[in-house]
Structure formats: C-alpha cells, structure tokens
C-alpha cells in the first residue's frame, strides 16, 4: 500500500469507529483526540481493525505512533508496504 492508500484505509476505519464525526476536515498533523470523539477503547479498535483486515500487529509500546494521521501513516508504511490494496 502507498501512504495515500494507508491514509484511505485509516479514514475508512475511523468512519466506522466514530460514525458521528465528519472526516472531511481532518487535519493530518493534529492529534485525532483533539478532532474526534475518541477514547482509549476507540484507539484499540484501530489496532483491532488493522489486525483483522491486514494482519498487522501493533505492539502496545507503539500505540503512541497512532496519535495523528501523519504519525500513523509514517508508522504503518513499512508494515503495510507489501500489502496490496484490495
């Protein structure tokens, strides 16, 4: 997956996790928490969805990388570069 495709995938997951929030104006450099109604259980949903959809494992010590869209995509790029977008 390219960084753009990874971003699309994260948006798709966020729309599912936080269905009342609007994603169109998401600032990639700002923390998700400051823009969306997300709590710790929701962040675990991001981890879970990546595991279910792509078998990507994210160890707990790396959760901090999921703070914003930019940091998430940067973190996931090497893990998902060989995954072909369905």
């Amino acid at each position: 997956m390219t960084p753009a495709e990874i971003r699309d995938e994260i948006i798709d997951i966020l729309e599912d996790i936080s269905p009342d929030d609007e994603m169109d104006n998401l600032d990639d450099d700002q923390a998700f928490r400051d823009q969306l109604e997300l709590d710790s259980m929701d962040f675990l949903d991001i981890v879970m969805e990546l595991r279910k959809r792509h078998r990507v494992q994210i160890p707990e010590e790396d959760y901090g990388n999921l703070a914003s869209m930019t940091s998430t995509v940067t973190y996931l790029e090497p893990k998902m570069k060989d995954i072909v977008k369905a």
Partner: protein, 420 residues
C-alpha cells in the same frame, strides 16, 4: 417481608406509584400505540431469520434507536442497552419530571433481564471463526457489553444518572422483579426515583431459538400473527420477542408534592420459588405466590378485575398456570383473565413489565383486551373469566394482577391498584 399493612394504610412515603411509562414492543413504540394495537388485535410477530438457525418467527421492535443515542453509542453498546435507553428516556419524558433539575444521584435503575451476554458472545465467536479462532481478534468491547449490569449501565451513561444501577436476573419473571426491586429501594430511601421494569434483546441470539426448538417448545405457524396462541388447542410453543418497558416509580408523597399524574399504585407483590424442576412449572407454588401477593395487598381474589397471565403458548406451561389460577380465581365471577403474549410473543425479561403496561390503561377506559388466536379453547385452560378474541367492557377496573414466571421455578406477581 414487607409490612402486612394495606397499601392505603401506609404513610405516603411508603406507598409506591407509577408516574411514567416508556416502552417499545413488537406492536408499538409508546404506551398509547401499544394499547391501540392490543385493542385492535394487531400482532407484532413477523418472519425472522437469524444466523445458523435460519428462518423462524419473532416479535421484532422497530423503535427509533437514534432518538436518544448517537450512532457511536449504538456501535459501542448492546441491543438490550439500546432498548433500555429508549424505554427509560420515554418513561422520564412521560412522567413530566423536571429532569434537568432532578438530582441524578437519587435515581436508581433496576432492569429485569432473562439473560444477558449471549448475543455478544455469539457475535464474537462468529467473528473469530473467520480468523481460524484466533482469540486476538476477540473484541475488547466484549466485557463491557456482556457484564450483567450492561443494560442498566447503558441507561445510566446515557442519562447521566449517578445513583445505583443494576440488572435483576430473574428469567422470565424479571419484568415484575425489576418493578419490585424499584419499589423496595424507594421504601428504603435508597433513591427518590426508580426507573424499573425489564428489557429483552433475546431475538438476537440464535441459541434461544435453537434451545426452545430442541425442547420442542418453539412456535411455528404459516401465519406469523397466529403463531403465539396461549390457551388454544393448536398452540405449539413460544414466539421469542424483544422489547422493553420501564416505569418511573416514586413514593406517593413525592408524586403528590409535584402534582404528578399517577397511573397506578403497587399495592401488593410476591416472589417465590418452585424448587421442583429446571423448566416445568409448579402450579401449587404459583398459586401460593398469587395468594401471597393478594394477602399483602389486603385483597380477596374476587376484588381483582384483571389477571394478566404469563402463559407462553407451551402445552404444559399454559395448562399448569391455568390450574394455579383456577385454584385462586375459580369462584370469582367478575375477574377477567387475558394474555398479551398472544400479540407480541414472549419478550422474556421485558414480558412482565410490557404485559402490565398493556393492561394499565384499563384503569382509564375499563376495557379489557382479549387473548387473541384462541380458535379452539383447550379445556384444560377454560378458566371462567377468560377474555377471548374480543375486548370486553368492564364496569370498572380497580385492580390488575400481573403474573410473570420463569425457568428454574421463579415466580413473581404484582398487583396494581387504581389511584383515586
């Protein structure tokens, strides 16, 4: 034991009254439309399909689940929680309470449930099956969704209630048990408002259908509206239903102080146990439970105007309850007997509360809705006073006795009196 005094002899701060009703049933999403459906003979049973089990019949609710919850609330929570949030908000709205200024730490939530957690557990097993049973794909939401207090806790979260909340696991006696618990907590001054009754999400677990089917106790009929037929010779089992009914209960002194409209008073109640079988009822114990409720209410059997039966449409259960009722009400010429499951199926933990609500409006119009679908009355169920297929106009309705029984031999009876 509660005090043996008649309810009317108790001080107002020990008398418990119903001041609001909130509900969703398979044939109505508020008290008025539900009552209208019962008087028009409208069934809420329809074709239904569920994973693994396949096509069957069920009582399905179509309330607006986004009226009081966000999409995220619905995703995060359970169906039982959602039913509960809807019913609780509707009840509070109906009560006319000044909710914004009500002390939420003095509100107690007491929700009867038959079972809870099966739906979510089945869902998760279905999900991990797709991952070769890799348990790392098991949702972190499973525990908060399946803890036994979930349906009550979701109401607390939704309405910002900080008083006590819990569910009462009481099989299919749970709706009455929730009401009884609420009344007790008000009498003990543990809360100033009780949101009490029962909820059911049971149609979303295939296990309940499969288990009743294996027990030869799941109803079938070419016409879904005819499938739930207590007392009829051709009854062949239970129609599983979902739903919820929660009441706002208050002490009479508080209700009077705010000039609340009062829909009835809990004048008597009783719970006991068969201690004879996992499934089969014991009519002797059921009759004892009814007698105990009458005694506590200070009433004779012939003072009861409506008996709302528990009968579910099983061969044995209906005739056993009728045997119990015959021993108590056999000589009562003016007591009318009906059944609400014939319209909506068996709403499990919500059944007792919903069936009471179906009859409660009789205090106003004195009309007794019938048991529908009785084409050929089973002689073993031929009680005097049965109201069959057509509503009856009573001269006056002052007392309603509501039966609700469940597996493992749990029996509950509440008696509601008109407030003059």
């Amino acid at each position: 034991m509660i005090a043996p005094n008649l309810a009317s002899d108790l001080p107002d701060n020990q008398r418990i009254v119903i001041t609001g009703v909130g509900l969703t049933a398979p044939n109505g999403n508020d008290w008025a439309s539900y009552r209208e459906a019962l008087l028009e003979g409208r069934s809420g049973v329809r074709p239904y399909e569920i994973r693994y089990f396949g096509e069957t019949l069920a009582g399905v609710c179509d309330f607006d689940n986004k009226r009081y919850q966000t999409k995220k609330d619905l995703r995060r929570g359970t169906r039982a929680g959602s039913v509960g949030c809807y019913a609780a908000n509707e009840a509070v709205k109906h009560s006319g309470l000044d909710w914004d200024n009500f002390d939420k730490s003095r509100v107690g939530i007491y929700v009867g449930v038959t079972e809870h957690g099966n739906v979510e557990t089945e869902n998760e097993i279905f999900v991990i099956k797709g991952f070769d049973y890799d348990t790392s794909c098991w949702s972190h939401h499973h525990n908060p969704r399946t803890v036994a207090n979930n349906p009550a806790g979701e109401i607390a979260l939704n309405m910002n209630i900080t008083g006590p909340h819990y569910t009462i696991g009481a099989a299919c006696a749970a709706g009455n048990a929730g009401l009884i618990q609420g009344a007790q907590m008000l009498r003990l001054n543990e809360c100033d408002l009780a949101i009490a009754g029962g909820t059911s999400e049971s149609i979303h677990t295939f296990g309940i259908f499969a288990s009743f089917n294996s027990q030869n106790a799941l109803a079938t009929n070419e016409d879904p509206s005819k499938a739930s037929r207590p007392f009829d010779m051709d009854r062949n089992g239970i129609v599983v239903a979902e739903g919820g009914c929660l009441y706002t209960l208050e002490r009479l002194s508080d209700a009077k102080a705010r000039d609340a409209k009062i829909y009835g008073e809990l004048v008597g109640y009783a719970m006991n146990t068969d201690a004879t079988d996992f499934v089969l009822p014991n009519p002797e114990r059921q009759a004892q439970c009814v007698e105990m409720a009458l005694k506590r209410a200070g009433l004779n059997a012939d003072q009861i105007d409506i008996v709302s039966t528990h009968a579910t449409g099983t061969s044995s259960g209906d005739s056993q309850e009728c045997k119990a009722l015959r021993s108590v009400f056999g000589e009562c010429s003016s007591t009318r007997i009906n059944n609400t499951k014939s319209y909506i199926g068996h709403a499990m933990g919500a059944a007792g509360a919903l069936e009471l609500a179906g009859n409660l409006a009789s205090f106003d119009d004195h009309v007794v809705h019938p048991t529908i679908n009785v084409d050929s009355l089973d002689p073993e169920c031929a009680l005097p006073g049965l109201v069959l297929n057509e509503s009856q106009q009573a001269k006056r309705v002052d007392y309603i006795l509501n039966n609700s029984f469940g597996m493992l031999g749990i029996n509950s009876v509440v008696i509601i009196g008109r407030m003059n």
